[in-house]
């Protein structure tokens, strides 16, 4: 399982905690499994998300590998400037 930190306003749409646990070994699997396990997060995922994996922000690369002990943070999709 991968431990994913979600941002504050998503907590209540998941299960109320700062972290969620999902399976997956890369960006896409993790995000797909979040969508499946926590349907409340679907609208945000549709609007756009990024993943910070071990401190680096990935905006979309699906096949970026994620280790079991990677630090994974869900973030909004970033644009502008």
């Amino acid at each position: 399982m991968v431990k994913v930190k979600i941002w504050g306003s998503l907590k209540n749409l998941a299960d109320g905690s700062d972290y969620i646990l999902v399976t997956g070994s890369n960006f896409k699997e993790v995000v797909d499994n979040i969508s499946m396990k926590y349907p409340g997060l679907k609208p945000q995922i549709k609007r756009g998300i990024s993943l910070a994996i071990d401190g680096k922000i990935y905006k979309e690369s699906w096949f970026t590998p994620i280790d079991k002990d990677s630090e994974v943070v869900l973030m909004p999709y970033m644009q502008g400037g």
Partner: protein
């Protein structure tokens, strides 16, 4: 102009020097072609009819008299776009360009005309008869959030909005770590303040301009000034239901953007007018249109609460951020919430952010979108706490600074970052300890930006004569062609004058993301270095063929193919030129291509120091001295890195002191021109002293970070803190215009 480079940084020959920019001569002689500089045979001039009401329901638009005017060739309204593609009714980008059912802000366009010349087109505009019903409007954040406020646009609200707000509150988010309550309890002092910033404009000197030509078979050519022509293609081909390949967009030279040219305002209109008339159509915005109907920043209303121990340690911090970005949704509020406390290593931190619809023009990005507003509020409260405890403001920032391993306030853990080095450079700088006189104040502030990567394609071609052409797809907004050429030359080991970098149109390269988020030198640089590596590999292969040895036995060093060791033989090294000259005979032209969705951009921090003198009788503040410290990662072309630091600082100075969108009680913009929208002029300023720190980004082969955006973040609070210290009055609203400052001084007296 100092440069502070840690010893560990890689040695370079061309990277880090200051060559003349390749496009320079065209720009100093007037030859460079910008958006408005292209003319096509049989071209028409287009202009738009705009309604000067903040909110109105359009009842009818009668174009029959206008159509009859000799010289008028085509007229369009939103209905024409529905005929082109019924899906257009749900396209917010298009609806911002031309109103559908409602005028949503003062200056919203409702029709467009193409005619043989501009005078005829303007005359025809006056012949269009429009009937509309004025609607109640709302232009400020507090009013718009209240239940019962006039609703700008129904059905835009996200699923997660807390109760108790009007339907103008459409987006909400929160971020944070730790336990705030416990944190606040252990503080020796809590300060809570509410801050306001006005909406400001990027103020690029080149108004938006484009020339569109659509032929009867549905193919189209579009020339425009934009930060991202591939994005223009995506948006426009979507509106016209065209294949991407049928719309060729060429980016002109761009006369400034700063985020404001990341979307479209007139391009779909010109295409539609061209389609309907069968002529090429050129549209050039007037300055008034630029102010009224392009994308200024969000305005903000931010509450910040910070607890501090008397030692200077921050115990907890909280911000509630409310942004208003006009009549359509945007994501700037999220960036504001994430960046607010990014400079600090905090155990307990929370930010909440709301986005609110109003009857104002739709915001666009402006250098580090969302960050200046929230960081201004945070850095002002920290300064006030420093004053309260009589602590040195740089000491307190160093004490609390985020560093490698800090869990950032927005989630991820930081890798190598340069904030502490930047703060220490500021502390050691002579500016920090220079004496101040009466009515003078020194302000400091930190700033932060994420920096982006993104989709990037580079094609690097070795010509038969040994010169190199680099083809990239990001409009050059501040000298990037020079940096890209430098990186190509560095990697290939050849002299810079052998390399020329050009920006391709949308049919000549794969998709490239917009020139935004300070991504170009990082991402295009990365792709260029990788493309050069591939070309080098092929060059080695050709050398191996020529020498009749195995390709693994050839290495590339300083511009030459060498045999890899004694076993490979002792052939004379072959230069890039030697190999290029016979490339036709050894297998054909040599090139390297690299396509990537670049990730791993490194965050960047800046610290600004400013001295200000305030005239206590008039409230006028003058900048006496300004020093910028910024972690740039490796500075490829230090002059243009400095230029970014100086330019961003001065935009921030304008924001802090004088710039603002001023609305009348009737919801109409009062200052849509450079006379009353006061951007800084040369005589307002001292030299802006840049100090570059080079803390390499581990995610880039040469250590590049983005530099373009961080510099606009600190000036707001730095100046606020300086004026507050000069006058002895804490200010919480920008701009610090003389009437506002004088009023506070008189109230105190």
């Amino acid at each position: 102009m100092d440069q502070i480079t840690p010893k560990a940084v890689k040695e370079f020959k061309i990277v880090g020097t200051r060559p003349l920019r390749p496009d320079g001569i065209d720009k100093v002689t007037g030859k460079a072609m910008y958006g408005a500089d292209l003319y096509a045979p049989n071209m028409l001039y287009g202009c738009l009819l705009r309604i000067n009401e903040p909110h109105a329901f359009i009842e009818s638009i009668n174009i029959s008299n206008a159509e009859k005017l000799p010289g008028v060739k085509s007229i369009i309204t939103f209905k024409d776009f529905l005929k082109i593609n019924p899906d257009n009714k749900n396209n917010p980008i298009l609806e911002n360009c031309i109103a559908n059912e409602k005028v949503l802000y003062d200056g919203h366009a409702i029709a467009a005309i193409a005619a043989v010349d501009l005078n005829t087109a303007k005359k025809a505009l006056k012949l269009i008869k429009v009937k509309y019903k004025k609607l109640p409007f709302v232009i400020n954040i507090e009013e718009a959030m209240k239940t019962g406020a006039p609703i700008v646009s129904v059905g835009k609200k996200n699923e997660n909005i807390p109760d108790g707000y009007s339907d103008n509150v459409i987006q909400y988010c929160s971020f944070g770590n730790g336990n705030l309550e416990d944190g606040f309890k252990t503080a020796d002092k809590l300060i809570k303040r509410t801050f306001k910033t006005p909406s400001v404009h990027q103020g690029y000197i080149e108004p938006h301009a484009c020339l569109a030509s659509m032929s009867n078979d549905g193919k189209a050519d579009l020339w425009c000034c934009t930060q991202g022509h591939f994005n223009v293609r995506s948006i426009c081909s979507n509106i016209f239901k065209m294949d991407n390949s049928q719309l060729k967009v060429t980016a002109s030279e761009i006369g400034g953007g700063f985020g404001g040219k990341t979307t479209v305002f007139i391009e779909p209109i010109a295409l539609a007018l061209s389609q309907k008339s069968g002529h090429p159509v050129k549209i050039v915005m007037s300055r008034e249109e630029v102010f009224k109907a392009t994308g200024p920043t969000v305005s903000s209303l931010v509450d910040v609460e910070i607890g501090m121990k008397k030692s200077g340690k921050i115990t907890a911090a909280k911000a509630i951020i409310r942004y208003e970005g006009g009549a359509f949704p945007n994501e700037t509020y999220e960036l504001g919430a994430q960046s607010a406390f990014a400079s600090y290593d905090l155990d307990a931190v929370k930010t909440e952010a709301f986005n609110v619809l109003t009857n104002r023009p739709t915001q666009a990005a402006y250098r580090a979108p969302g960050a200046p507003q929230s960081i201004y509020a945070v850095e002002s409260v920290i300064d006030e706490l420093c004053q309260h405890f009589n602590l040195d403001p740089l000491y307190v920032r160093i004490l609390n600074a985020a560093k490698k391993g800090t869990k950032s306030s927005y989630g991820p853990t930081f890798d190598d970052i340069g904030l502490k080095a930047t703060l220490e450079a500021a502390k050691d700088h002579p500016h920090y300890n220079a004496p101040l006189k009466e009515n003078q104040g020194r302000g400091i502030s930190c700033g932060f930006w994420f920096n982006f990567g993104g989709n990037t394609c580079v094609s690097l071609n070795i010509n038969f004569d040994g010169t190199v052409g680099v083809v990239e797809g990001n409009p050059d907004i501040g000298g990037s062609r020079s940096s890209i050429s430098q990186m190509a030359a560095e990697e290939l080991g050849i002299s810079l004058d052998k390399v020329k970098t050009v920006i391709a149109d949308t049919n000549s390269l794969g998709h490239n993301d917009v020139t935004d988020g300070s991504r170009v030198t990082f991402s295009v640089g990365l792709a260029t270095i990788k493309a050069a590596k591939l070309a080098k590999k092929e060059l080695c292969k050709r050398a191996a063929k020529l020498w009749g040895i195995d390709e693994d036995a050839v290495i590339w060093k300083e511009g030459y193919a060498h045999p890899a060791g004694a076993n490979a033989g002792n052939q004379e090294p072959l230069s890039l030129e030697d190999i290029a000259k016979v490339s036709s005979q050894t297998g054909g032209p040599i090139s390297g291509h690299y396509e990537v969705n670049a990730e791993g951009a490194g965050v960047s921090f800046g610290v600004h120091l400013v001295d200000i003198e305030t005239d206590m009788e008039t409230g006028h503040s003058k900048i006496l001295r300004y020093t910028v410290f910024q972690d740039a990662g490796k500075a490829i072309h230090p002059s243009y890195v400095e230029g970014q630091m100086q330019g961003g600082s001065v935009q921030g100075i304008g924001w802090a002191l004088n710039e603002e969108y001023i609305y009348n009680h009737d919801g109409k913009l009062q200052n849509p021109g450079f006379l009353d929208y006061r951007i800084p002029v040369a005589s307002d300023l001292p030299m802006i002293d840049p100090v570059i720190l080079e803390i390499p980004n581990p995610g880039h082969p040469y250590g590049v970070r983005g530099v373009g955006e961080t510099s606009i973040v600190p000036p707001l609070a730095a100046i606020n803190n300086a004026v507050s210290r000069a006058t002895g009055i804490r200010f919480t609203e920008l701009p610090l215009s003389p009437p506002r400052v004088l009023k506070a001084i008189l109230n105190k007296q």
